[in-house]
């Protein structure tokens, strides 16, 4: 157990104590406080189009199931049988019909979680079963909100509202969805799953760490550039790898925008995704759908990584997202998802699939470059020589957690995440 004062002392302006990455007690507190109070991404409506369709996932370490109820609404339930605790839905996805049926003693539940039937009910007739915890069925999470088909859930009841929590950060989801001429996305291509022996926050911080690509990825991106020069044409992988070697000045100019509650993004003024080759026919489809000015405005927005605090990040220009699933203080599962832009050419899906494979797969050289840094840090933070991790770069003494636009090499977004972290970790729930 660790109390609010102890948690608060782990975060200073521009420095955080190594315990935020290494301590099991801090991790447990994150699960009961941070992941309970925030809005966590659980899935996409396109994964469960029909009544009874479900996917299973976690909010922090809590198992949940996202399901399409008989009235077409999306529900998120704790994936735990109220009887003895058995996980009810066990597959990553499937269709359960109108009911979930627990495989242990066949209690069954409607897809809003309420108890539908219990075998041999006379056994409970003389008991105060109706007052028991079990009578509540599979408990729904505290709140669910579907925003343009992105499904978020909050474990706590009566926490911060969805609108207050995300505010202006929803513009990154808007831009990704608007890139479909039909204004619609579908999860497509399959999910890459990559296990890391490090704390989940190291990975999220890396997403707005613009001083590492030209260093840590030199072996991948630098080699790709050198070898690409010998090719007659432009290899699509070189087009993806090469911008990682952009100089500091490029990343400075890209800019970072931070928003309240730990959200933020790199790439305010263009990004490493700005100069990809045009896909034939796509721009005309966008003009047909939105008119020329609006189509241009949508496509000119080239945000690099948007962090939806605490643990989802997305790339609008290439229609992908990553979820950083905490498993233990030193263990994180990274899922990389890709999307089809409904109504757009298949080459865009092909490109995002290639991007994720080259950059975010367990087989990806760029993935190896990053993973090596996190895992070395996870190990060496055991050193007692200096218990503090530095994130002071371009620290402004007057910084608040409001919206701001800053130099693209600032560590402002990492600090922004920790300000939100400190608040949600210490607020009474």
């Amino acid at each position: 157990m660790i109390d609010a004062a102890q948690i608060s002392a782990l975060v200073r302006d521009g420095e955080v104590h190594r315990d935020v990455y290494t301590s099991a007690a801090v991790f447990d507190h994150e699960m009961t406080h941070l992941f309970a109070a925030t809005w966590v991404f659980v899935g996409h409506a396109s994964q469960i189009p029909a009544v009874g369709d479900f996917t299973t996932t976690t909010i922090g370490v809590a198992p949940v199931v996202m399901v399409r109820h008989t009235d077409q609404t999306i529900h998120v339930l704790h994936n735990r049988c109220p009887h003895k605790g058995t996980r009810v839905a066990n597959d990553p996805c499937g269709n359960t019909g109108r009911f979930f049926r627990c495989p242990y003693h066949a209690w069954s539940f409607r897809t809003d979680g309420s108890v539908a039937a219990i075998p041999l009910p006379t056994g409970y007739a003389q008991t105060p079963f109706k007052q028991s915890e079990a009578a509540g069925g599979m408990r729904p999470v505290g709140a669910v909100h579907v925003y343009r088909d992105f499904v978020f859930a909050q474990l706590n009841t009566d926490g911060i509202s969805f609108a207050d929590y995300f505010g202006p950060s929803l513009s990154s989801i808007d831009n990704m969805v608007d890139r479909s001429p039909d204004g619609k996305l579908e999860v497509a291509g399959g999910v890459l799953r990559y296990m890391h022996r490090c704390n989940w926050k190291m990975l999220v911080e890396n997403l707005t760490d613009t001083c590492h690509p030209m260093v840590a990825h030199e072996s991948s991106a630098g080699t790709a550039i050198a070898m690409g020069q010998a090719l007659p044409g432009k290899h699509p992988a070189v087009e993806i790898y090469a911008p990682f070697m952009s100089p500091y000045a490029f990343y400075e100019g890209m800019g970072i925008r931070v928003w309240p509650n730990g959200h933020g993004h790199t790439g305010v003024h263009g990004s490493i995704h700005s100069d990809y080759s045009a896909v034939p026919g796509y721009f005309d489809q966008m003009v047909g759908a939105y008119g020329e000015d609006r189509a241009k405005a949508i496509l000119d927005e080239s945000r690099h990584n948007t962090v939806y605090f605490p643990n989802m990040t997305m790339k609008g220009p290439i229609q992908s997202l990553r979820i950083f699933k905490p498993i233990a203080a030193d263990r994180t599962l990274v899922e990389s998802w890709t999307f089809r832009l409904v109504g757009a050419p298949n080459q865009l899906l092909e490109r995002t699939i290639m991007y994720s494979r080259l950059i975010n797969a367990p087989t990806s050289p760029v993935g190896h470059d990053d993973q090596e840094m996190y895992e070395r840090a996870q190990d060496s933070l055991q050193s007692d020589s200096n218990p503090w991790v530095n994130m002071q770069r371009l620290l402004d003494p007057d910084e608040t957690d409001g919206t701001a636009e800053v130099n693209g090499t600032s560590e402002r977004q990492m600090r922004n995440q920790f300000r939100a972290w400190q608040r949600f970790m210490t607020e009474a729930s």
């Binding site: 399959g190 799953r193 080699t223 699939i353 087989t363 050289p365």
Partner: protein, 154 residues
């Protein structure tokens, strides 16, 4: 080309990988050759479905060059690997050669070692009296598992 020649070729390929003789290994592929590890055993497409590997010869050369680069920190210390093959079965001989080889593959790095198991299917062609790889498809027994870094070649 006898059956024995084909089996010797598959064994030799694994040996080149275990000995990290990547340049010689790359020369086994045709110019349009591909090294493919799908995410799903039923997968027939590497463009619109995700894969763990879907590498043309350029990407394989890039990987092999990266593994040797002085700034490849994920190879400090270096990974090593070990293939254990079952005798390849020759599934097809007419109009191209197809083989099926069950394998265990071990990848290590200092104190860590991970065992992978699966089946590789080679599509081979004979060019100038030598066998070359058109496609090496590797189906892991558990491609849907979450893996840590896989840095060498199965």
């Amino acid at each position: 080309m006898t059956d024995a020649d084909i089996i010797t070729f598959i064994r030799h390929e694994a040996r080149l990988l275990d000995e990290q003789r990547f340049d010689e290994w790359l020369d086994l592929f045709t110019d349009d050759g591909r090294y493919w590890m799908p995410l799903d055993p039923a997968q027939t497409d590497w463009k619109l479905q995700q894969s763990l590997y879907s590498e043309d010869v350029f990407l394989l050369r890039l990987r092999s060059a990266r593994l040797k680069s002085a700034k490849t920190y994920s190879q400090k210390p270096k990974s090593r690997c070990h293939h254990l093959l079952q005798t390849p079965e020759i599934d097809r001989r007419d109009g191209g050669i197809s083989t099926w080889t069950a394998f265990h593959y071990l990848e290590t790095r200092l104190d860590e070692q991970t065992l992978y198991a699966g089946w590789s299917r080679h599509s081979l062609v004979e060019m100038d009296g030598k066998l070359r790889i058109l496609l090496k498809r590797i189906d892991l027994v558990n491609p849907d598992s979450a893996f840590g870094g896989i840095q060498l070649f199965m």
